[in-house]
């Protein structure tokens, strides 16, 4: 019975292919847009998650200053509230912290002979290596002795090594930073690009004490990077660090923190959530066009029913019941909507691949969204086809046969 209705509907749709196609167009575009938008959103989410994952989820970053109303902090060095002793205290007094290192950063020219290279110079402690899981390819990392003696030693990253030394071995060579000679004690292993596209290998690391005293001339530090013993203990470490620092900085109850602790896994989750929100938002906007497509179907079907009044009369005269007419028109609507859905899905997949290729935006097709879109388009067909189908089935055959 249903197969017969299906066959009748298909024949009827084939009779006017252009009109059937134009009716489907709303659904095609709607579904295609939903698929493509969600793919873009999912791609963004995945990329963010990958970036954050590469940084490690047991890391905390402590910055000076506080969050103002607008969410902006008062700037690096705006409040000179972090001290090297803070880092040491964190490491000594909190067992679930596996390591803490002060960090200072500044862009400087590094000179070797007549070659120079502008790079980021970072002042770090020995713990930095373990915290960031950064291998040393040759030579050794900064030692506690280097820190205590404000030694003029440096490790250079792969990019710096290549640009200043080419194929020559840089270990033991002298490089100049701000006219101060530094002896290269090692080459860092490759790290590649960071999440926001910067070259992590374009770096020179020196002891933080040397950075503070000889390069920057400051007594405070810009950051403390902390590793918790595991991802699970990170939040607890966060809390303990906060109370320790409040104590050390002699902050009263109720006063704002003069520091900020950034938990990378919170950032990861927040970024992931906002990417999800974006995907949902884009998907919802695109869904509106599905609704419009459905209205288009209803509109065209109403016109179609009026135009085919005679035909409906003929069908009734040769024995079609109300139910047969209703079923025929609903199936026509469903077939149009579902076919539109399939074409839209193909279009959505095609355009998200195209976007990936041309705009170099990451896109990720979600099979569940495809299935949902297909079901939704079928439902749109049923819902928007219902009223015209009912109108058709309620025609009086005598009037219908007389219709001009």
């Amino acid at each position: 019975m249903l197969i017969m209705a299906f066959r009748i509907a298909l024949r009827a749709l084939a009779r006017n292919k252009l009109r059937s196609f134009l009716t489907m167009l709303g659904i095609i575009i709607g579904v295609g847009a939903v698929i493509a938008m969600v793919a873009i959103g999912e791609g963004a989410k995945k990329r963010v998650q990958e970036q954050i994952a590469s940084l490690g989820t047991n890391l905390l970053v402590i910055l000076p200053g506080t969050v103002t109303l607008g969410g902006a902090r008062t700037g690096f060095g705006g409040r000179q509230s972090l001290l090297p002793s803070d880092a040491k205290a964190i490491m000594d007094e909190i067992p679930i912290v596996s390591g803490a290192s002060p960090v200072l950063r500044q862009v400087q020219q590094v000179i070797v002979g007549d070659q120079n290279w502008s790079t980021q110079v970072q002042g770090v402690a020995p713990e930095f290596q373990q915290i960031r899981e950064w291998q040393v390819e040759e030579g050794r990392f900064i030692s506690q002795a280097d820190v205590e003696s404000t030694a003029k030693v440096a490790l250079i990253g792969q990019t710096v090594a290549y640009n200043l030394f080419g194929d020559n071995d840089p270990v033991g060579a002298i490089i100049r930073i701000k006219k101060i000679p530094f002896r290269v004690i090692g080459i860092l292993g490759a790290k590649g690009q960071s999440g926001n596209g910067t070259d992590q290998d374009d770096v020179v690391m020196i002891p933080y004490t040397t950075m503070m005293k000889l390069v920057m001339g400051v007594t405070y530090i810009q950051q403390i990077i902390v590793a918790a013993v595991s991802a699970d203990t990170t939040q607890e470490a966060n809390n303990q660090i906060a109370s320790l620092l409040r104590q050390r900085h002699k902050l009263r109850q109720g006063a704002d923190d003069d520091f900020m602790i950034r938990n990378l896994s919170d950032i990861a989750e927040a970024a992931s959530n906002s990417a999800t929100v974006m995907a949902v938002l884009l998907g919802s906007i695109a869904s509106v066009s599905l609704l419009v497509g459905g209205i288009g179907i209803m509109n065209i079907m109403l016109v179609s029913v009026t135009e085919r009044t005679r035909e409906i009369g003929i069908r009734m005269a040769v024995g079609a019941r109300s139910r047969d007419i209703m079923l025929q028109f609903i199936v026509e609507a469903i077939v149009m909507a579902a076919s539109g859905g399939i074409i839209g899905i193909l279009l959505g997949i095609g355009s998200s691949s195209l976007i990936k290729y041309l705009a170099e935006l990451p896109t990720l097709i979600r099979p569940d969204i495809i299935a949902i879109s297909f079901l939704v388009s079928g439902t749109v067909g049923i819902f928007f086809g219902f009223y015209p189908a009912r109108k058709a089935s309620q025609l009086d055959p005598i009037d219908a046969l007389r219709y001009e």
Partner: protein, 253 residues
């Protein structure tokens, strides 16, 4: 007398001869005291005022009368498209005037074949597909639909144009397709409403000869409405309507 007949009448179920699929009962149609009244605003129009008629199997009847005589209303009721206000219509012994719309649809599908003045074929649909149309609503799927449709097209002389579309066929050919469609489900009765109205004289004669052929050779019962006397002359019995009543009922010898 008539009302007593209606109260006690208990028609047996019609039997179907499986060979030809045609019911062999003698009386196809019995109409007793049929009335039809329309309300048009405040005015009541009495379209039929007490029609009594019996039509037997194999008859070829022409129904004539001017517009407003009630003949179209009569045909609509005969065709189970309209309900009488009072009176009885027995089709093969079954009182069909009291049936539901769905049951009517079933009767229109199996027992009645319509032929219209304007042919009423589906556009952009081939002749054979048009003839298959009633079989699509049969309630049972037949794989031999195509075969049966082609056989009936052969009967009306159009087997070579079975795949032509209506706009590729002449008026006479289209009407033949319509006749084939009307025959395809082996109806008890063919109802034709001015079937030659849109055809030229020569083609009209051809179509009437086809009807005569079907009536004489295949024994198909035909009721045909026309306002042209020379068309009516092809039939064996002529019924004349006026002002909602039958004023004359004559048979040819």
């Amino acid at each position: 007398m008539a009302s007593e007949m209606l109260e006690h009448h208990n028609p047996p179920a019609p039997s179907r001869d499986s060979d030809l699929g045609f019911d062999r009962r003698a009386e196809v149609i019995q109409i007793r005291d049929l009335h039809k009244t329309y309300k048009m605003g405040d005015i009541e129009v009495q379209a039929l005022r007490g029609i009594n008629i019996t039509i037997r199997r194999g008859e070829f009847i022409a129904v004539t009368g001017s517009s407003g005589s009630g003949k179209s209303t009569f045909m609509n009721i005969l065709g189970c498209l309209d309900r009488p206000t009072s009176g009885a219509y027995f089709l093969e012994g079954q009182d069909v005037s009291r049936l539901s719309s769905n049951e009517w649809a079933h009767i229109r599908n199996r027992k009645i074949g319509f032929v219209f003045q304007g042919f009423n074929l589906l556009h952009r649909t081939s002749a054979v597909e048009n003839v298959e149309l009633p079989m699509m609503y049969n309630g049972f799927q037949s794989k031999d639909r195509r075969q049966r449709a082609l056989a009936v097209l052969k009967l009306v002389g159009l087997e070579e144009r079975s795949h032509h579309l209506p706009n590729q066929l002449s008026g006479g050919q289209q009407q033949r397709v319509a006749i084939a469609r009307a025959l395809v489900n082996r109806p008890s009765l063919i109802l034709a409403d001015e079937p030659t109205g849109n055809l030229d004289t020569k083609t009209s004669v051809e179509i009437m000869e086809l009807f005569q052929n079907l009536n004489e050779k295949e024994g198909i019962t035909i009721v045909l409405v026309t306002h042209e006397p020379d068309i009516a002359a092809h039939a064996k019995r002529q019924i004349v309507f006026r002002d909602g009543m039958i004023i004359s009922d004559t048979r040819k010898n």
